[in-house]
Amino acid sequence: MDCQTARKWMSPYLDSELETAKTFEIGEHLRACEPCRRRFDAERHVDDMLRDRLSRESMPPALWHQLRKEVNRSELLSGFRIPAVIATAAGIMLFAVLYMASGDRSAKPSEVFTGQWAHYVNQSVPSESMLSDAEIEKALLDDYGLRFSTAREDTHRHPVKVMGGRYVLFGSQPALELRVKCCGKDAVITTFLRSNAGKLPRGIQELEREAFGKDVKRDGVNIRVNTVGEAEFFIASEHYLDGLMDAIQPGKA
């Protein structure tokens, strides 16, 4: 092999992309030809320098944290596989849990909930939840200034009144909004539902027709969603979904 041919193949040789026979031929040439060997070493040095320099760049930890948070949140926002009624009920329960568990019951919850469309995601089905309890607590504290505990030992039952509800789209994301009253505080709970090309899923449309203004039983859960009206639930925070199923007693404080 002559020098010109060897140099022609030097780049793929450096990248270990040549077939065995050609690799062997070039290797032999480099052993015998000092100028070509020095040229090869020079090429390798440039690669090493660049690799060394660029490898120092890494994703800023804050960006990685943000991406993790957004991915986790968007999965929760999409309401993965959670039936609408359960999502609704669980959203209510989340509010109750949040309210009860918050360290300051007077100031922060009312600041967050009153008069605002507070966006909450269903965290109430452990098998669907992507965030650890600690991450949920941290996210709520960071985003809303809410202290929130996921401690399961709290068996206090807490009444939440559903004053009204509607289905809305946030962009293309369907959500169920409930206006509730809890311990004299007004609140809106928004539970996001799975998007279906920007349209409300058929099941939700059916629920809307069925549940607006009257009691409906779905998946063993009684629910009534009124634009102006009252449906009163007892919420237990001891167990998430099971506790919710057991505890909901429509129409009874």
């Binding site: 793929p12 992309e17 320098m49 690799r51 999965e75």
Partner: protein, 189 residues
């Protein structure tokens, strides 16, 4: 048994390559400060499309395809930062050979060169043409094979190989010129 949530699977696959994704975005962005925007958009696009990713295939290649498409799309919106691209490699064989000799001598003191050219090296890389820069980064920094580069960029394998080769030649020429500027190398060496 509860199905493992998709987000955990997605993040597990993304975590080991997150620095690669960021580095590549930083070098292909129209400005360093836009790398985060690119990465954010690419990652969220990948997450939305994750249902289409075939398990046990090359996640890094799949992610880079999305990243590169995102860069193309976003770069169209904003003019890439200015500055001339590196000149074509000249083909004066005698001059090239002389320069190679000098370059090889220079490489006998790589630490000194490295120290002096550290930032200039990256600036030179940024001035490569887009095709050459992306092929070199994918090959040299990210370890993609020519075949994988061909698949990721949707170009023939020979073209990928040629871009890598030309990128190296241009960089070497540029670095030799920088070394002359910095007094590390005499032009007539």
């Amino acid at each position: 048994m509860a199905q493992r949530p998709a987000a955990a699977e997605f993040l597990d696959l993304l975590e080991p390559i997150r620095n690669s994704v960021y580095r590549y975005a930083a070098r292909m962005a129209w400005g360093d400060d836009h790398a985060s925007d690119i990465v954010q958009e690419a990652v969220m696009t990948a997450w939305r499309e994750f249902g289409r990713f075939e398990a046990n295939t090359n996640f890094k290649a799949w992610m880079f395809r999305i990243l590169i498409n995102t860069i193309y799309r976003l770069n169209k919106r904003v003019a890439r930062h200015g500055g001339p691209q590196l000149d074509e490699v000249h083909h004066d064989l005698h001059a090239t050979m002389e320069r190679e000799e000098a370059w090889s001598s220079l490489m006998e003191q790589p630490e000194r060169l490295r120290e002096m050219l550290d930032d200039r090296l990256v600036a030179s890389l940024d001035r490569l043409g887009t095709d050459e820069r992306q092929c070199l980064l994918l090959r040299m920094l990210e370890g993609f094979s020519y075949k994988e580069i061909s698949a990721v960029l949707d170009i023939p394998m020979g073209t990928a190989m040629s871009h890598v080769h030309r990128a190296r030649l241009k960089l070497r020429e540029e670095l030799a010129a920088l070394a002359v500027e910095n007094g590390l190398l005499r032009e007539s060496a």
